[in-house]
Symmetry: none
Subunit: 485 residues, 2 copies
DNA sequence: ATGGATTTGTCCGTATGTATG
DNA sequence: TCATACATACGGACAAATCCA
């Protein structure tokens, strides 16, 4: 602790030998003094040499601290004369020294689930974080700062779009050029864009029932007529689609959510023909198409026909991580002029971070994505098998399973006097998180009420392989024991 | 090469011992045969064993090929009976061909500008890239991988929202709690969200004229009546706003774009009162409020009154870099229930990358943002002064300047017989990029036509300080020399 | 019609070359 | 370098469907 006179004021300057560099300590201290108004405007700071002597250190840290203060405008330099405080002390411009807000995240109250069968969960421990960090760092080092930090291509970085076109072709059988790829951070902005793009072509859209309700909601909010069409054993009912008169349709042919139905080739072609004949468009949601555990992945609907009228939606949330925020869609060529017009009109900018985009491009190019995908597919397959085995062991003939073989979830059906809601609550009380299929159904109110068949969506990504057995055992115990069946 | 009879048809099946697995060769061949219509619907395929014997291989590859065809719907299985072709041969569809698209990025043609006065440009060389990298790396190392990579808070990470609330309070005088902060990647998703939020409250919105056209466009597309209100010397015309009957209004009171007008306190209070009385909402766009070069920064409109009916829009595009993709808005408390309902309904997820959010939180907490902001303010002030001096020197009394003192641009006006468009083209031909103010004006078509007053927006962020003089000299030379004024 | 033989889809254990770490 | 695990392929077993004397 040393006493250093600055101008007329005696001040106390504490230098410790912590890990914080000397010049940073000096800089912080002086900034604090100036901004708090302790050092008045235009007062002269001690010279570099003098202060160094007083503190018993070299002149270098002093110079660095002064330079920093200079760059930020706290002080001004008069060459061969001295440094002078530039702060206007009467401005009550409090520095954000101590924030009144809590530093850490505020505690959220949420259940802790010992067994989490939520379908969006996954084990992210396997993500090649070190490689990602290295790729990120190399991106920042190898590109010029200005290039990295300025606005990017509103459609998504071109290099990444090339890689995605390549990836989608290779892994999903999607036929497209990089010009057709649009990158976004999240399904919502892309869906919203689609809903704007299609507006001139029609106002009614058919959706699968049951389905994930986001797409219907987005279109409904945009003023579309949303027409639910039942999903049969081989996908959306072609007959009802035809007679509905809908202009568009959303489907998930590779692994329908939540039923898990795979649309056979004949139905796919019929769908494409429907689009061709009516001038409609098909929105193909392909969330988990990469994850097929037996046989080869089923190629996308989009690639079945050259220049098909399909908008393909894919992403890396499942393959890598949702935190990267990279989704993409592949537009049919006929829609590209509309897209460019809209982009211009609305000053659209890419919602995905440019830094992440460039890192991901590298990741794809250097084969990390492919490698990680294979690894995850293997891990998930084991969990998938384990889950099925566990259900069979512990539920026996009380339960039926459907929608297996790919993706991150399957469906479990059982007959039970209690409602789906009650069963879900019961499970949660025992620390098991599981969704009933209720939220995916668009019902004419009273349809399912007569039956006592209950359906649940069981995700197997979030649990460790050797937790699955115990989780299902507890679930069976809790449900089958609740009422004598 | 082996001859294999399928049903009645003799077909030729070529099996080579390339690296392609047998079952894949089989699968491909059969898929091709079926989709080309050579094998008719409902015809029976040779049994697994029989085909295996004929081909002289084991049954496994046959089984695998059949399984794949089964999954894709080309064939159907009747257990213990046989496999049957499911193809409808009269649908003439081509299978996906190899699409040829260039792997590398396609060359874009774009002008090179020696002097770029575009307003969104900035010198990103000063960005503390090394510190950012370190912060990013520490984020990844210190947090558990699973936490980092799973879905984040749809509203934005809580820690970052705390830091932003703090930052906005200290640097912009915004009064809010972290609960009011909504994070997004880009103005558009946030504006879109606002336009949805406000729908129940009214259908007409007043906008400043001139202004940046994105906001009017977004609201117009959502079906709002957009009412342009002229910007006077002290901001948007209160009188016309009152009589317009608009439910909402968008303003940029700290540094109006493009005029640079600063709204005085009396007018701000009147605006707040207007909102209070009519039950309307004010959207405050505060793009460059942090950058005020003389006198004290002008606190935001939002913070003038507790619980004011103001939606505040801010971001880090200017302060740090647009590539990080972090924008935020601060909602008035009365709108929070609506927001949460909408968030739930549309399954909204945060459009800003979680990794970047967490890094930015660190950056804010550790004071890097503040330091960088001060430094940039200093640098930009020098450029600002330099630009004004240069214009005065080279244009003399031919030009008038307005909208100075903050932000990243000023306006230059001059009387000239050539149109703004022609002048812009002239400048571009000399390697100077400069925008006329035309695109910011919403005109009743013929308003400005009589006058020969021309207005341009000159951004000073993109040039180095010592390039400005030469750029303006060339601009003056090119414009003033074009026609004798 | 019928019962036994045969065919057939399906399932399972295992061997080998190869890629991964 | 070595160990592991996976993709591919093989041979065999089971039970249901089909066929036939």
């Amino acid at each position: 602790m040393k006493q250093v006179p600055v101008n007329q004021t005696e001040v106390t300057l504490l230098l410790d030998d912590s890990s914080v560099p000397l010049y940073v300590q000096l800089y912080r201290y002086m900034k604090q003094q100036i901004s708090a108004g302790h050092w008045l405007h235009a007062s002269r700071l001690p010279s570099v040499r003098r202060l160094a002597e007083l503190l018993g250190i070299s002149t270098t840290p002093i110079e660095m601290a002064y330079q920093q203060l200079l760059a930020e405008g706290f002080i001004a330099s008069k060459p061969r004369s001295g440094y002078f405080v530039q702060w206007l002390a009467d401005v009550p411009f409090a520095l954000p020294v101590e924030s009144a807000y809590p530093k850490g995240p505020i505690l959220k109250r949420h259940h802790y689930f010992k067994y989490d069968f939520h379908m969006s969960k996954n084990e992210y421990e396997y993500f090649p974080m070190t490689e990602w960090r290295k790729a990120y760092n190399r991106c920042l080092q190898e590109n010029s700062t200005a290039d990295m930090l300025f606005y990017g291509d509103p459609q998504g970085e071109e290099g990444l779009r090339c890689q995605i076109a390549n990836y989608a072709k290779h892994f999903r059988g999607v036929a497209c050029t990089p010009e057709q790829v649009i990158i976004g951070s999240d399904p919502f902005p892309l869906l919203d864009l689609i809903s704007r793009l299609l507006l001139p072509y029609g106002k009614s859209i058919a959706v699968e029932n049951p389905c994930y309700p986001q797409q219907p909601e987005v279109f409904r909010q945009k003023g579309y007529d949303v027409i639910p069409i039942p999903v049969l054993e081989d996908g959306i009912s072609q007959h009802e689609l035809q007679s509905s008169g809908a202009a568009f349709v959303t489907v998930s042919p590779s692994h329908q959510f939540p039923t898990g139905v795979i649309m056979p080739i004949s139905r796919r072609l019929a769908l494409l023909q429907w689009a061709q004949e009516t001038g409609g468009f098909i929105i193909e949601d392909d969330a988990d198409g990469e994850f097929r555990y037996y046989g080869r992945p089923i190629p996308s609907l989009q690639g079945l026909m050259p220049d098909s009228r399909v908008i393909y939606l894919g992403g890396f949330s499942q393959v890598l991580s949702p935190a990267l925020g990279v989704k993409y869609m592949i537009l049919p060529k006929v829609l590209l002029p509309d897209y460019h017009r809209l982009k211009f009109q609305l000053f659209l900018d890419c919602t995905a971070s440019k830094l992440n985009q460039m890192t991901l491009e590298r990741f794809l190019r250097e084969g990390y994505v492919e490698r990680h995908l294979r690894k995850m597919r293997m891990i998930l397959r084991r969990k998938h098998d384990r889950l099925i085995g566990s259900i069979q062991r512990h539920f026996g003939e009380h339960a039926q399973i459907s929608g297996t073989g790919s993706g991150f979830h399957l469906m479990l059906h059982l007959n039970h006097p209690l409602s789906e809601e009650d069963l879900q609550t019961l499970a949660e009380a025992r620390g098991i998180r599981v969704s009933s299929a209720a939220y995916t159904r668009m019902l004419p109110a009273n349809e399912q009420s007569g039956s006592d068949r209950r359906s649940f969506i069981l995700g197997f990504g979030g649990l460790k392989e050797d937790e699955i057995e115990a989780g299902i055992e507890r679930l069976a115990d809790c449900w089958l024991g609740a009422v004598s069946l």
